[in-house]
Each structure stands twice: as structure tokens, then as C-alpha cells.
């Protein structure tokens, strides 16, 4: 089996002038990057890394934004045989001290040898480091000015350590977000990723006429695998814009599809609602979406209503209904676990609400009783096997809801340096426990909630305990007396984050101050915006027998109270 470096060399030698990636920037001309430029840029970084004494097998942390530098620094690490990992950039919302704490946590667990970042961010990073104590040997400043170290240069493939990497060697780490997520890096081997690209490529009928368009961040598996490694290693052109540009101007995605004849996109569910509701007609003049063969909805619960809304809004721009597709995935299986058949629309069904919530069985609707609409995420991709099991690991019958467990030839090697949590993630026979609930019908997989307490907003995983710890920092909020959870919002197509806190103070002005304090502290500590801060009186929160916050019970109680106040959900 070839490794990443062999594949990159082949593209460089066979199609050096082919544009691999086109980078879009707000207010600037589009920037095409050919395979030659990619390899030259990456080779400049190999030199720099080598000068800093970085070796094959070392972890290199990249704290860079959407730009060619991130591209070059990433593949430079690969060609050196080192292990790149992208960390989200500091945003205006996040408190710098919190960012430094998160970074220090990541460094202590993943033990990177080097960090690459911008000059203006250097002091921020240095403040998080402990020279002589932590693993960091080099802080490398991304600077492509002529004459500086990482200036692009021709490759010296014979000297690059990346070619000696074996298929089972780890090629990259992916971290989830937040304090909890940053402590466990998903380590993936060359073999796992290449097996995945092969299997998933077949599922999506990937071909040389494809053009991928994306606004997704590269520190997330959907952006990194589907919209970065898949196209670049497969020789498929990709057009990328920054998530920050997209969220301010969502029409740019559709304009890019039209301009570059885009065929494939991956989007989290909320993006369908967001585009349908926010894009103005004046920004769609001349847009033609007829080249778009699949837009794959994944990384948060998929909703048929979101597809309908999107289709109705853009059908006059030649969008086809069968373009709207679904998948279910996780970084631990590289990316996708299932994919629906792209030649038809995803299978949807109405199921009986009461059997679903009370008996955990997805029965088809009957007798005109209240229903829930479910949309399938498709069937397992060719190299992945799925089972739905009960809490003892026994197989469940069709339509019975249980935990999804999986096995494949593209699983993670480990959570990096975390044998403790790696071991806990698998059950007998090497089945990985996804932590997601679901059921199967005719091989189609439906996702039905989560076992783990996890909030997913816009495709981003948020650990509620991270948010609760932040709330406890606010004067007036006692440790153990707050509960965070997500509540699905039909209008936005994703979850709203709710914080309920028990507060003893009665004065309304003081209560407002506490609510504002919770909002500000959580946002600045996690970059997550709370939609509802609900202050209640003790005893309101439901606790488990061990005294922990029972988040799903608190969520049910919150929803009931909101309904009584006639707030819409």
C-alpha cells in the first residue's frame, strides 16, 4: 500500500500543473494552487521543520487560519513523516487565558514537538508554554517571505522521511473541540485513511469530473477528510472558503458552486436552514446549481424539513431534490460510517412518537397517532459493519433502538497517548462504541439520539460539563447547581444551548446580572453562545442517585416549563 507521500509525489510528477485547491478570500481574487505549488510550499516547510530538529513521528501542532500556509505546513509535516494536527484559531469571543489553558491541556496530552503559527499570535502561544518542561522544542512562525526558511522550494523526495512511513504509522491527529475534546486526539494511520478514502469514494461514486466546494473548518473531520484529504489525495479539485467568510455571506457557497461547476459538498444540517433563510435574491443573480450532484448532510442530526426548505428556496436556480443526501460519521472511523445511495433520495419514514420515546421501538405510524419524522443516513459504507446493541452488548432486532457499534478497516489507532480511554471505547470483539443511539431497517441506519451527554451545534461537538464548569465561576452560582443541554430548534435546524442554574438571590436586577455573567463567562470560556439562560430556585435540578446532574431529565423539565409559558420550540 502506498503512503501519503507516495501519493503526493505521483500527483506532482504526473499532473504538476493541475489545480488541486482553489482558495477563496473575501474581497480578494481567488487563489489557485497547483500540485507543483503545493509540493514546493510543503518542501519549504520540510526544510524549516528539519532545521528545527523535528523528526518523523513527531507531532506538529498547526494554529493557522484558512490560507495557503496551512496547506503547505500540513503537507510539509506529512512529507517529513511527522504528524500534523490542526488546532482551532483564537476567536474574538474566546478569552485568551482560556485559550491558553486549552492549549496547555492539548500540549500535555498530545505532546507536540512543534507549533506553527503567525507572528502576531506568537506571544499568545508562548504564554501557554513552559520551556524546558513541556514537549515543545520549536515555535515556528509561518512566514513565506523570500529568503526566510519556509520559502517554497523544489522537493528532495529522497531525503524526505515521509516516504519511509509504514502503512500502520500514524499520519495525523484530529482533536474535537472544547476543554474535554482537546484532551483526546484521534490518531489515524495511513492505512485507515486510505482504506476509508477508497471505501467512501465508492459510496459517493467519486470520479474525475467531480469538483468539491467547501467552507468547513479543517480542524473538524468533515472538513479535513471530505474536503481536504479526499480531494487532494484523489486528484479531485477542491474550492475552499473560510467558515468566517461563509457565515457572513452564505451565498458565496452557491456562487462558488456555480462558478466552479461544483459537484459535491458536505454540510451540517443547520447550513440548509441558514442558506434557505438568509440568502438574498440579489446575491444569486446568474447562479446555476445544475452541476451539484450531491450535498451530503452530516455531523449533526439530519432533518427532512431542512432539505425541503432548502430545495424550495433554490430549485429555481436549478437545484435538484436528489442532490440532497445524508451520511452518518465520526472521526474515530476517519469520517463516514454510512452513506445513502446517491442515485435516490434518502429514505424517510413517519414513526409512532410514543413507542419511540417510551418503548424505544421505531414503529411505523398507525391509527393517526402523533408521529416523528425520521430520515435515514443510508447504509454502512463498504468496509464498515454496524450492529445495534443493548446495554449488555447483545444484538437488537430491526426497529429497536440501541447503541450503534461498528467495526471496519479504517478505525482509529488510538486516542493519542490515552490507552485508558482507548480501551474503554471498545467492547468484546473489537467493536467501537459510538455513543449514538439508532435503529436499522433493511440495512438503513437511523440515528435516534445520544448515549453520551453531548450538545451538537452547527456540527460542532460541545461537552456540557465544560459549559457547566464555566457557569460555576460566576458569583451567585454554586458548584453542582447548573445544567447545560441542547434543545433542537426547528427554525435554525440545529440545537440551541440552554443553561439552567439554581440561584438563591431574589432581587431581579441581581438575577439579571447573574444571567449576563453566565452568558459572558460561558461564551468567553468556550466560544459557545448560550441561547437561553434559565435561572431557577433550589431545588429545581434533577440529580442522579450519585448526585450528578441528570441533563436529559433537566432538559425535559425545561421544555415543559417553556411550553407552559407558550414559548415555541
Amino acid at each position: 500500500m502506498p503512503n501519503f507521500s507516495n501519493i503526493l509525489q505521483r500527483h506532482y510528477e504526473h499532473t504538476p500543473d493541475k489545480v488541486s485547491i482553489t482558495m477563496l478570500f473575501a474581497g480578494q481574487p481567488d487563489q489557485p494552487v497547483t500540485y507543483r505549488e503545493l509540493i514546493y510550499g510543503a518542501s519549504g516547510y520540510v526544510q524549516t521543520y528539519t532545521q528545527h530538529g523535528i523528526q518523523a513521528g513527531d507531532v506538529i501542532l498547526l494554529i493557522l487560519q484558512h490560507d495557503v500556509d496551512l496547506l503547505y505546513a500540513y503537507f510539509g509535516a506529512v512529507l517529513l513523516g511527522a504528524i500534523p494536527s490542526i488546532m482551532p484559531f483564537l476567536t474574538e469571543k474566546l478569552l485568551p487565558e482560556r485559550y491558553r489553558t486549552d492549549l496547555a491541556e492539548l500540549v500535555s496530552h498530545s505532546r507536540p514537538t512543534a507549533i506553527v503559527t503567525y507572528r502576531e499570535f506568537e506571544l499568545e502561544i508562548r504564554a501557554a508554554l513552559k520551556p524546558g518542561e513541556d514537549s515543545i522544542k520549536a515555535l515556528i512562525i509561518s512566514d513565506r517571505a523570500e529568503g526566510t526558511a519556509n520559502y517554497p522550494c523544489p522537493p528532495d523526495f529522497a531525503a524526505f522521511g515521509g516516504f519511509q512511513r509504514k502503512e500502520e504509522d500514524i499520519v495525523l491527529l484530529q482533536h474535537s473541540s472544547g476543554s474535554t475534546g482537546l484532551q483526546k486526539g484521534v490518531a489515524l494511520s495511513h492505512r485507515s485513511i486510505l482504506n476509508h478514502l477508497d471505501a467512501y469514494g465508492k459510496s459517493i461514486l467519486l470520479n474525475q469530473d467531480d469538483v468539491i466546494v467547501s467552507w468547513l473548518p479543517l480542524y473538524h473531520d468533515m472538513g479535513l477528510i471530505a474536503c481536504f484529504l479526499l480531494p487532494i489525495l484523489s486528484g479531485i479539485p477542491v474550492v475552499q472558503m473560510s467558515p468566517f467568510d461563509w457565515v457572513r455571506a452564505p451565498h458565496r457557497l452557491l456562487q462558488a458552486i456555480s462558478t466552479y461547476h461544483g459537484t459535491l459538498t458536505w454540510l451540517p444540517n443547520f447550513a440548509y436552514n441558514f442558506c434557505a433563510q438568509k440568502i438574498r435574491d440579489r446575491d444569486l443573480e446568474g447562479v446555476d446549481l445544475s452541476s451539484w450532484r450531491a450535498s451530503i448532510n452530516t455531523s449533526e442530526p439530519v432533518k427532512y424539513k431542512s432539505h425541503q426548505m432548502f430545495y424550495e428556496r433554490f430549485k429555481s436556480y436549478r437545484l435538484r431534490l436528489e442532490t440532497l443526501q445524508t451520511s452518518y460519521g465520526m472521526a474515530e472511523n476517519v469520517f463516514a460510517v454510512t452513506q445513502n445511495d446517491l442515485t435516490t433520495q434518502p429514505y424517510t419514514e413517519d414513526i409512532d412518537r410514543e413507542s419511540f420515546t417510551s418503548d424505544r421501538i421505531a414503529l411505523l405510524a398507525f391509527d393517526g397517532r402523533p408521529t416523528i419524522q425520521m430520515m435515514s443516513c443510508g447504509k454502512p459504507i463498504p468496509n464498515t459493519t454496524i450492529r445495534v446493541v443493548d446495554s449488555k452488548g447483545h444484538d437488537l432486532a430491526e426497529r429497536h433502538i440501541g447503541e450503534i457499534v461498528l467495526k471496519s478497516n479504517c478505525m482509529l489507532s488510538s486516542y493519542y497517548n490515552r490507552p485508558d480511554i482507548t480501551k474503554k471505547a471498545f467492547i468484546d470483539g473489537g467493536w467501537y462504541m459510538s455513543g449514538d443511539f439508532g435503529y436499522m431497517v433493511n440495512g438503513e441506519v437511523f440515528i435516534a439520539g445520544r448515549k453520551k451527554d453531548l450538545i451538537i451545534v452547527g456540527g460542532k461537538n460541545i461537552y456540557p460539563q465544560d459549559l457547566e464548569l464555566l457557569a460555576y465561576e460566576v458569583p451567585g452560582v454554586h458548584p453542582g447547581r447548573a445544567s447545560a443541554f441542547g434543545v433542537f430548534n426547528e427554525i435554525t435546524g440545529t440545537e440551541d444551548v440552554v443553561m439552567v442554574a439554581e440561584v438563591d438571590i431574589n432581587d431581579p436586577v441581581d438575577r439579571q446580572k447573574i444571567a449576563d455573567g453566565i452568558r459572558a463567562t460561558v461564551t468567553r470560556g468556550s466560544a459557545v453562545a448560550l441561547r437561553y439562560v434559565h435561572l431557577v430556585r433550589h431545588p429545581w435540578l434533577v440529580k442522579t442517585s450519585s448526585g450528578k446532574t441528570a441533563r436529559s431529565a433537566n432538559k425535559d423539565k425545561f421544555l415543559k416549563e417553556m411550553q407552559e409559558k407558550e414559548q415555541v420550540y
Partner: protein, 81 residues
């Protein structure tokens, strides 16, 4: 005029984004950096500004570096009117 713009913005943000119509937002109260509004609201906010104050806003104009409170946003609008 300035007061009107500021008041209209405050009412809109309190009602539509915060779902707290009675919430008073001070002119110098941080909006984005405090988490009161987030980046997903920026498109709505620019639409509201365009429709109510006759200002045409380009994609990248309205962001964390152009304003973080109502006073700055009001100044921004007046400069573009």
C-alpha cells in the same frame, strides 16, 4: 436621529436574538465578545440595517472588527449613510 438608530437596534437585538423584549442593552455593552449575539446573527443584523437605515452593507463589512457594541454599530451606520 442617532438615538433612534441606537434604540431601534437595541429593541431588535433584545427581541429577535435574545428573546427578552424588556432587556436593556447599554450603548457600550459588548455584543459579540460577550456572547450576547454570535456570528450566525450577523447576516440578520446586516439585513435589518439595510432595510431600516438605507445602508448597503458588503459581505465582510459587519464583523467583530467593525463593531462590538451599539454605539460603534450606530457610528458605522451613520458613516455609511
Amino acid at each position: 436621529m442617532t438615538e433612534t438608530i441606537l434604540e431601534k437596534l437595541a429593541t431588535y437585538i433584545a427581541t429577535e436574538f435574545l428573546k427578552q423584549p424588556g432587556r436593556i442593552i447599554k450603548p457600550d455593552e459588548p455584543l459579540l465578545s460577550s456572547g450576547l449575539i454570535d456570528s450566525f446573527h450577523l447576516v440578520d443584523l446586516s439585513l435589518f440595517v439595510e432595510n431600516n437605515f438605507g445602508v448597503r452593507i458588503d459581505d465582510a463589512d459587519l464583523n467583530a472588527s467593525s463593531f462590538d457594541n451599539l454605539a460603534q454599530l450606530t457610528t458605522f451606520i451613520k458613516e455609511h449613510q
